[in-house]
Symmetry: C2
Subunit: 141 residues, 2 copies
DNA sequence: TTAATTCCTACCTTTACACTATGATTTAAA
DNA sequence: TTTAAATCATAGTGTAAAGGTAGGAATTAA
């Protein structure tokens, strides 16, 4: 699981969409202002979100994006993996130069990072988009 | 919690020390060969491990490093935080430029990352150095 | 005295991240 | 029909950090 601000921005933007989901298509300009993320960067992120069927786009003036599914069915893990190509924190694979090979006493930590990845994935699997906006409802009413 | 290969190397090296803890001081040259980590880079890592009282150094010929404590008392979290200055994955602090401020609808994801950090820390808190080498004992006997 | 080691600090190289720039396409509304 | 607002697409860029190297000084067992 790659944890960077692209993933964080994606979650923020999706949460923004969820908050305003009754207002029709939300433009990236709006999200850009509200969440303080550059518009052009948001565009890149939303291409990926769209390709992963997390949002639908409405082109042209008064267009924007809407959630493809209900916030209570969207897992955070889906969002993060949509914008990050890789899933692994630290690879230790056959094909990477520096990693496991067949020497003894190598890869002592292999299982550890595997378990960590599972642990993080498991965390994001359990949290839904709805869970985020519930906590902010009073703030944003 | 910063997850990079410095932290991974540190854990690998500490596990190596644990595996060979009955052989007296272990030189970084040995660890470098066994774990396939550059010697000079290991030196940097071990300075930090030493300053954090995780290892003791024995200078001069036949010198090296030994664990300061028993492997079953050393938490992985201690090792990783020793070599990484930062603890947070993604900061969202007052003093950072891009982060929380008092605008409404900001920081929707603030709690999420806080909880993730706790989750990861909790994972590394529960794993001891001994847990790693147990799994490799048959391989390295 | 020598070789093996830790210790220390400065430097270097590459890469990925985060972002910008530019322009094309689509479409609602004036 | 024109204009402005929006998505769509891709290439380029600046920077910081990761992941090392390099070179030498200090220490110590043999």
């Amino acid at each position: 699981m790659k944890l960077n601000s692209k993933g964080r921005y994606a979650v923020m933007a999706m949460a923004d969409l969820a908050l305003f989901k009754d207002k029709g298509p939300i433009s990236l300009t709006d999200i850009s202002i509200r969440q303080n993320i550059s518009l052009a960067y948001l565009e890149q992120i939303f291409i990926k979100l769209k390709h992963n069927n997390l949002v639908k786009s409405v082109r042209g003036a008064k267009g924007g994006y809407v959630l493809e599914h209900s916030p209570d069915t969207i897992k955070i893990s889906k969002i993060i993996s949509a914008v990050d190509e890789e899933i692994k924190t630290l690879n230790c694979k056959k094909d990477s130069k520096k990693g496991c090979n067949n020497k003894s006493s190598k890869c002592i930590t292999h299982n550890l990072w595997d378990q960590l990845d599972q642990h993080i994935n498991n965390f994001f699997e359990k949290v839904k988009l709805q869970d985020l906006i519930k906590k902010n409802q009073t703030l944003n009413k």
